[in-house]
């Protein structure tokens, strides 16, 4: 029989990629991303008893992950701007073969310029949530979620264009 810890780790294993993506959206350097990833797993484990199978595990997990990322304070001494990481990556890239990698880096660089709630809105949208579900997860009305999301999508598009990069 599986212990509670094993059961939890099995469930998280399936979604660990998404948790890593949340960390990349909220933190702009690898060390902070790693810290946030650990913090999210820690908070998920601490809150695991509150998961009651009434909703999907992923819905519950996204909510805890986003709430943790929003109130996460990075270590103050560590400041490596994304652009450094980005340019490092770009130097190593061989022409078209890593186009996807470049696009992904540009996407995260742009997302890092959004505020914390805007990042949450974009995350839920990219994960296929409806306006109603986004509102429920954030604790705001469906209409408010729609207005904010449209504004955020425009903002993100402008940032990406300002970077001089269109996908």
């Amino acid at each position: 029989m599986q212990t509670k810890e094993q059961e939890f780790l099995t469930k998280i294993e399936v979604h660990k990629g998404i948790l890593h993506k949340v960390s990349k959206m909220y933190m702009d350097n690898r060390d902070d991303q790693q810290d946030l990833f650990q913090e999210i797993v820690c908070q998920l484990w601490k809150s695991y008893d509150s998961f009651r199978n009434e909703s999907q595990f992923s819905t519950w997990m996204y909510r805890v992950a986003i709430n943790t990322a929003i109130v996460f304070f990075k270590k103050e001494k560590r400041k490596v701007p994304t652009t450094e990481i980005l340019s490092e990556n770009i130097r190593d890239i061989d022409d078209d073969s890593d186009l996807k990698e470049i696009q992904i880096n540009h996407f995260y660089e742009a997302v890092n310029q959004l505020d914390k709630i805007e990042k949450a809105l974009i995350f839920y949208q990219l994960e296929g949530y409806s306006h109603k579900e986004i509102g429920q997860n954030l604790g705001i009305s469906e209409g408010n979620a729609r207005v904010k999301l449209n504004r955020t999508k425009n903002k993100l598009r402008e940032i990406i264009e300002k970077q001089g990069y269109g996908f």
């Binding site: 660990k16 948790l19 993506k21 908070q43 109130v71 304070f73 696009q103 207005v147 996908f167």
Partner: protein
């Protein structure tokens, strides 16, 4: 470029080599506001307990006269009772878990009000102790430097004594405001900013 392009970039990002921690019990939370406050409080608990012990031995260390022991320990017992009351309250306050599984707005409000409540509790704790600290200082002055004490309590200098006490209490109040704001206020301010982003438009 439209949002579909962004969506396809998101879908193309499939992180590899993501390693999950193997021992969950060893995971330490350290970067959430309440955890940071808890850490600060832990340090302060230790200093406050050491101060209480130190004050408790003051009559022996400073060789107070025999007749000063009873009033000193009477005051000290009230001081200890108030300190224990607040320390236990602050300690229990932060034993509670974060409510990260609520919706974002409720979770942020819970954390925000917990921090605000702690800040106020901390201020009243400090302010409640101020009169005792002043009385202890007066006691030390009375027994250690009686000449200076008589100078203060002579009729002509009663107004200065009055002024010094009022100034000391108000300074303590202002220092507490600064201390609490400096060490805990930044977290509340940050959360308030995020909460404002959730307001209806």
């Amino acid at each position: 470029m439209d949002f579909n392009d962004i969506q396809s970039v998101w879908n193309n990002d499939k992180p590899e080599n993501v390693v999950l921690p193997t021992n969950l019990e060893k995971l330490q939370s350290a970067s959430l506001p309440l955890d940071k406050i808890r850490k600060n409080l832990k340090k302060e608990f230790i200093y406050q307990i050491l101060s209480i012990v130190f004050i408790g031995f003051a009559p022996f260390m400073y060789k107070f006269p025999q007749n000063a022991f009873a009033p000193f320990y009477l005051l000290f017992s009230i001081f200890v009772a108030i300190s224990v009351y607040y320390l236990v309250k602050l300690f229990l306050f932060y034993k509670r878990l974060n409510k990260t599984s609520l919706n974002t707005k409720d979770s942020l409000y819970e954390t925000y009000f917990d921090i605000r409540l702690n800040m106020e509790l901390y201020k009243t704790f400090g302010f409640a102790l101020t009169p005792f600290i002043i009385l202890f200082l007066i006691g030390v002055l009375y027994f250690q430097l009686p000449k200076a004490f008589n100078l203060f309590t002579s009729n002509s200098h009663l107004i200065s004594l009055f002024g010094v006490v009022i100034f000391a209490i108000l300074s303590m109040g202002l220092s507490l405001e600064w201390w609490v704001h400096h060490f805990y206020g930044k977290y509340a301010k940050e959360l308030r900013k995020v909460l404002d982003q959730l307001k209806e438009e």
